[in-house]
């Protein structure tokens, strides 16, 4: 059986499974997308964010 037939029978034959796959895919996509963009943002701005320079000031924070 051709791969396309297998895919068709697995995901697209029933609308409930099709919609369910789309929604689950959206959920998984969002997690992956968010973490990827966050990683990119942190890499792009490394050394500028508070979490990168916190060690310089964290003792001062404790005294207050």
């Amino acid at each position: 059986m051709a791969i396309s037939t297998v895919i068709y029978n697995t995901f697209f034959r029933r609308n409930s499974i099709f919609v369910g796959t789309v929604l689950f895919g959206a959920f998984a996509f969002e997690i992956g997308f968010d973490s990827t963009i966050d990683k990119f943002w942190d890499a792009r701005n490394s050394g500028k964010q508070w979490k990168d320079i916190k060690y310089k000031y964290v003792e001062k924070d404790d005294e207050e």
Binding site: A2, S4, T5, I7, Y8, F11, F12, F18, V19, T21, V22, L23, G25, A26, F29, E30, F33
Partner: protein, 233 residues
Amino acid sequence: MASRSVIRSAQSSALSSSLKCSKLAAPASGSAAVVDQKRYASNFYTTDNTYKVPDFGHYLKKNKGDDASRVYSYFMIGSLGLLSAAGAKATVQDFLSNMSASADVLALAKVEVDLASIPEGKNVIIKWRGKPVFIRHRTSHEIDEANAVNVSSLRDPQEDSDRVKKPEWLIMLGVCTHLGCVPIGESGEFGGWFCPCHGSHYDISGRIRKGPAPLNLEIPEYEFSSEDKLTIG
């Protein structure tokens, strides 16, 4: 309608003459028109046909029968739905998170205090949501004093047990209920707090006893998260 039937009858007479079977030629009534139509079709195919219909098989897909093309279509539809769902969810979430408390507010919302460092008979003032909070570790003598007061004689009648969760710990907002000054601890005529602005006297349970203030010192929400840990807020 009339013009169409005229055309039909003209056609039928022309065709019937070409077929040489004029007895089938009927007058142009409803059922006769159908008969004419059949004769027109048969005439078309019986004549010698020199018109060649081209072969369009060249344009047909080679894999017309299998599922590849509809899998492709459904995949594209599903991908669009997936991206739309993720985008819609993110949009709604952004709007809703706009309404919730921001990080700086949440950071001020709760304060944890280590009670083990406060000795008996001492006041501690901490800042909570921009306001001072008095914490007093009361002695047993002070607890008895607070309970001995005749509640009905007070301006804002309140039992001492309604104002504390553990009798030895009195926790209240250090804001005078008159005009919002910060009272001074361990002073005043009743051994509690005294507001220097307009001379309100509070007793050892923080209740108003003398002066212009109308109400007792306010009690914030707090709980003892463990034996000697206090969480305000």
